[in-house]
Symmetry: C2
Subunit: 210 residues, 2 copies
């Protein structure tokens, strides 16, 4: 009864706001617990039970939101990765490319990058999780690089005919490979060199005669 009285004594905000806030706080705690599990036991070792314990909640709270660990991990990664909707727009293709690759590198160099590394290590290439990860995490972010280049072509900064999926993939692929091969941190000088010595020459130079 005392608790009930206290609750009604709290100044009321907009309808649903307190509920929503509690929902978000719980969701963040769950995502934190997912990343912690990925860092410590990897994707293969992660369990709904373990995440529930880490987030101080029950398994029922997880299953109300996610069908299973595949969907939960994909949502947690999307939560910590730079958003695919937030395309940089500095008016210059070099600045845009550097911004996007630096966001990616910053993520890889953070503790969340270690979680991602452990996810990659455990993936079965033909499994449902690999497919989910491709559709909901990788594809929208690959699309960003392509959109960025198309906008640069509209600005007249690069040759429209130079834009292919492979050329759009080169920057992120090199940064990712450097991360996988040598581990973090990927140095900023490497990112700058990828942009200036590989990506931009491919977009600006005329096609080579074979």
């Amino acid at each position: 009864m005392a608790a009930e009285a206290e609750r009604t004594a709290v100044p009321s905000g907009p309808p649903c706001a307190p509920h929503r806030r509690r929902g978000e706080i719980l969701e963040h705690a769950i995502f934190d617990a997912v990343l912690e599990q990925l860092r410590t036991v990897g994707y293969a070792g992660l369990t709904m039970e373990g995440v529930a314990v880490g987030a101080h909640t029950g398994k029922a709270a997880l299953y109300r939101r996610w069908a299973g660990k595949d969907d939960l991990v994909v949502d947690a990664l999307n939560h910590v990765l730079p958003s695919p909707c937030d395309l940089p727009d500095h008016g210059d293709v070099r600045d845009d490319l550097l911004d996007l690759l630096r966001r990616m590198t910053e993520f890889l160099n953070s503790p969340a990058g270690c979680a991602l590394e452990n996810v990659i290590a455990d993936i079965e290439p033909d499994g449902r999780f690999a497919q989910l990860l491709h559709e909901r995490v990788k594809k929208p972010r690959k699309q960003m690089f392509l959109s960025l280049l198309r906008r640069a072509a509209e600005r007249g900064q690069i040759r429209p005919e130079a834009i292919t999926q492979l050329v759009a993939d080169v920057g992120p692929a090199l940064v990712m490979q450097r991360f996988s091969a040598d581990g973090p941190p990927v140095p900023d000088a490497y990112v700058v060199s990828v942009v200036d010595d590989i990506v931009l020459p491919l977009l600006r130079a005329p096609v080579a005669v074979r």
Copy 2:
């Protein structure tokens, strides 16, 4: 006594030859057992005991040749990977690049590629094994791409000033990243596109104005 008589009855070959042959057969059986262990239990799960059992030999036979599993795995990988001493020489930079990248892809697409994938997944970036792997497996093979490009520059087929370690790394890095991200097989059309649309334009085109 009967066994002794049989052994002396075998026609004698050149000095040491039968011993060496037996040594090689055993070494191959050991390397096969290493790769099988890497495929099934990964680098983390591989033990000298497990390799000895797989090769039908004793642990003592392994420790006579290798100080521990790090050295054994590095030697086994060097044994199955395309040799770093066998630089292709077709007289043409495109043919040379395609040949080298196709050897790499053929390896990745084979069962040994799966063993390598499991090694990569288990690596601690700062550990002794990562260092051994870098020095004795990766570095000599990176050097091949650089040597190949230098020879092409001597033939006048590419611009000498375009040759940097990063440009030499682009081809193998893209193939490796494709393998890690999407799993085997890496299609031949991808390898051809990497050479024709990325590597050669960087080597033949003039430097872009920033």
